[in-house]
């Protein structure tokens, strides 16, 4: 009894370092937990794959290699883009089940436009083609999203039903539009958005330039925020807290850049690029484990010293990051975002406060459709084709990403960065298990289980915080 009294009276300065760190930086502990879980999953896959078959990863496996992480990010981008919109939909107490079929429909429409309509009429490769195809995808996505929103808001059909109908109907339209066949190939420039061609890789120089710009922006953002709070005489974070935030942010950006810029182009592409551009390939010693290319006699072979190019950031990853930043801005810094959260928190109060909740519903669904348009471009450009099954099951992965990222299905709660981390988590588990050669059925079991478990952990956490 008395012992307890003493420990309660302990001064605050004896709080653990972690507690003081969290208090000083005002970092979201949920996010900290998610990042930790993500790293744990990555390390576990790397260690386990290393035990099965040693590789060059951080722990001797195949997961924490530049190659795998680079691919992971490119694969995540399409789902990540859509999950940012799904957060706002779910925050507003709606749901959109139609996005997978919508993606197929939009991608097929964009492909038909470039392959069957514009290609033959103005000539394959004409610069108008890729611009028109992208604009068409964005416009069609926005339109279909707005239609979903209109039916939900003004016809007052529950969003679940509207978009369930969409899930079934839009894939039918996609099938008719594609006439059941795969529409390919995509325009050369259009393909850059998919991240599968050398032109869509930033390379080390521009990757580092971008990373430094982002670090400067992080610094300016934190300093600017501090100034603003100073102006009104509010309580400020301790300087070391701000400095730590800047340090962590910059370290994350620079670390990611370092990893991505150390992933070399595939062997065949270096060779093709050198031949097409008449770049001399140096002579060298063959080494089948090397990533560079060199000449041994008349043959081009793999070697450690020779001609090599590194990928750096890929265009779809940059798009996903850009969407993440813009959507975070919309969600937290604009009136539109504030209304979305207020409506999710109490629709009646929002209505009585004079917010036009119906118009907001249409806008949020239209925004979701716009993001589906972006993802449709990424997915079809990456595959270099569009089919009516391109977006199959995407709606479930996107909803799962948002929910794993802490979005509450009861509405009102959810963050953009959480959803992006959720998307990364889902993709990590999937590609990790693919790396371990586990059968697809087993992958589905694990992904489903993780989804349920993540929501359980989240509920537990929230109840404890309350």
């Amino acid at each position: 009894m008395s012992k307890q009294g003493v420990s309660n009276a302990a001064p605050e300065s004896r709080d653990s370092l972690l507690k003081r760190f969290i208090a000083a930086t005002e970092i979201d502990t949920r996010m900290l937990g998610m990042v930790a879980a993500l790293f744990a999953v990555w390390c576990a896959f790397d260690i386990y794959s290393g035990i099965l078959r040693p590789n060059t990863g951080l722990f001797g496996g195949a997961f924490l290699t530049p190659r795998n992480l680079w691919t992971l990010l490119v694969q995540t981008s399409s789902i990540a883009v859509m999950s940012t919109g799904m957060v706002l939909i779910i925050v507003m107490r709606h749901i959109d089940l139609s996005i997978g079929s919508m993606l197929s429909l939009v991608a097929v429409a964009g492909a038909v436009l470039q392959v069957f309509i514009l290609g033959p009429s103005i000539g394959v490769g004409h610069p108008v083609i890729w611009i028109a195809a992208i604009l068409a995808c964005l416009a069609l996505g926005t339109f279909i999203g707005a239609l979903n929103g209109f039916l939900t808001a003004y016809a007052q059909i529950p969003a679940f039903i509207v978009t369930l109908g969409g899930l079934i109907a839009y894939s039918g339209v996609a099938f008719l539009l594609a006439k059941g066949v795969t529409v390919a190939p995509m325009d050369k420039t259009f393909k850059i958005i998919g991240g599968g061609v050398p032109a869509s890789w930033l390379g080390p120089f521009w990757s580092w330039a971008l990373a430094i710009v982002v670090c400067v922006l992080i610094f300016l953002g934190i300093v600017g925020g501090r100034r603003q709070r100073q102006r009104f005489g509010f309580k400020l974070r301790p300087v070391w807290g701000e400095a730590t935030l800047i340090a962590i942010g910059s370290a994350a950006v620079l670390g990611a850049t370092a990893v991505l810029t150390s992933y070399p182009w595939p062997f065949g592409l270096i060779k093709q690029y050198a031949e097409e551009n008449n770049i001399p390939i140096p002579a060298g010693v063959e080494n089948p484990d090397g990533d560079a290319i060199c000449m041994v006699g008349e043959k081009v072979v793999r070697c450690t010293e020779g001609l090599i190019y590194y990928t750096g950031f890929a265009v779809p990853v940059l798009i996903a990051l850009g969407v993440g930043v813009v959507m975070t801005f919309i969600a937290t810094r604009t009136r539109f975002g504030r209304y979305v959260y207020a409506i999710g928190g109490n629709p009646e109060a929002a209505d009585l406060a004079g917010i036009d909740t119906k118009k907001m519903t249409v806008k949020v669904f239209a925004l979701m459709g716009f993001l589906v348009g972006i993802s449709a471009v990424i997915a079809s450009a990456r595959l270099d084709a569009a089919t009516n099954a391109l977006g199959q099951l995407n709606e479930l992965f996107v909803i799962a990403a948002a929910v794993i990222g802490g979005t509450s299905l009861a509405g009102g709660i959810g963050t953009i960065y959480g959803a992006i981390l959720g998307a990364l988590m889902m993709q990590s588990i999937q590609s990790g298990m693919a790396l371990l050669n586990l059968p697809a059925a087993f992958q589905n079991i694990v992904v489903g289980t993780v989804l349920v478990f993540a929501v359980y952990v989240d509920q537990f956490y929230r109840r404890r915080v309350k």
């Binding site: 009585l352 004079g354 009102g412």
Partner: protein, 249 residues
């Protein structure tokens, strides 16, 4: 007498064949508090929601300062300086006090983004006047007590210079001390010349706070009396039996 601040003339609204408000006329003068009394389901809240724009009337006219006002949604009502404090404490639970205070009328920076710092600063000023003990500006409204939530709701009305204030059972969720605070606030706002409609079940409170009381029963107006001219029993009789007191005011 001068022009009434608000005049509701022949208001009617029905929901699926039930006349929730049936041909009710009522007025309100500047610096006056009019109490609305009646059973649950008598139509008080419905009548008031027509004025605040939450419901659309079937028939009737609304006059503000003698001029006909067309109010068909909450935004229209706010443009006429009508602010409402709802029985259900209409706050968005997941956003903080400052955001709730400015909901629908956010302050923005010159780039069009939300100016949270400025809103928080204003919120601190207003709340400092109304409820100096209030310190929890950055927490979601969910974590506030009933009294704190009510002071946020009242601060909303004060902040936007309401001319006409509607209070729907403002003290229903409050403890004695907080109730006292609301009573003082009503006196203060009255001195500033606001017109206040106060819906309450508590006859004592109506006797103490109001100048006149309007009693409704089954959607119809039983009568409007000056509270000083009648006893509490008279008011009870009007509410329960729907009969006018013997010497009508």
């Amino acid at each position: 007498m001068s022009t009434p601040l608000v005049e509701l003339r022949n208001m009617s609204i029905s929901f699926g064949g039930i006349k929730a408000v049936d041909d009710v006329s009522i007025d309100l003068f500047p610096g006056e508090v009019v109490g609305l009394l009646g059973h649950n389901g008598a139509g008080k809240s419905t009548l008031i929601k027509i004025l605040s724009g939450a419901y659309r009337r079937d028939r009737g006219h609304i006059f503000i300062n003698g001029e006909e006002a067309h109010i068909s949604n909450p935004r229209d009502a706010k443009n006429f300086g009508i602010e409402t404090i709802y029985q259900t404490l209409a706050l968005a639970d997941n956003v903080d006090a400052a955001a709730n205070l400015y909901l629908g009328r956010e302050l923005r920076t010159r780039w069009g983004t939300l100016d949270d710092a400025a809103m928080e600063a204003e919120a601190r000023k207003v709340m400092g006047r109304l409820n100096p003990n209030f310190k929890r500006f950055k927490e979601p409204a969910k974590s506030l007590s009933g009294g704190q939530r009510q002071s946020v709701a009242i601060a909303r009305a004060v902040l936007f210079n309401a001319k006409i204030l509607i209070m729907d059972e403002p003290t229903a969720a409050l403890g004695p001390q907080e109730t006292q605070m609301v009573a003082e606030l009503i006196h203060e706002l009255k001195r500033q010349g606001l017109g206040i409609f106060l819906i309450d079940h508590d006859i004592h409170a109506v006797k103490a706070l109001c100048d006149r009381a309007a009693v409704m029963k089954n959607g119809q107006l039983v009568g409007v009396v000056k509270v000083d001219d009648v006893t509490e029993d008279d008011l009870l009789g009007m509410i329960i039996l729907g009969k006018q007191p013997d010497k009508a005011a």
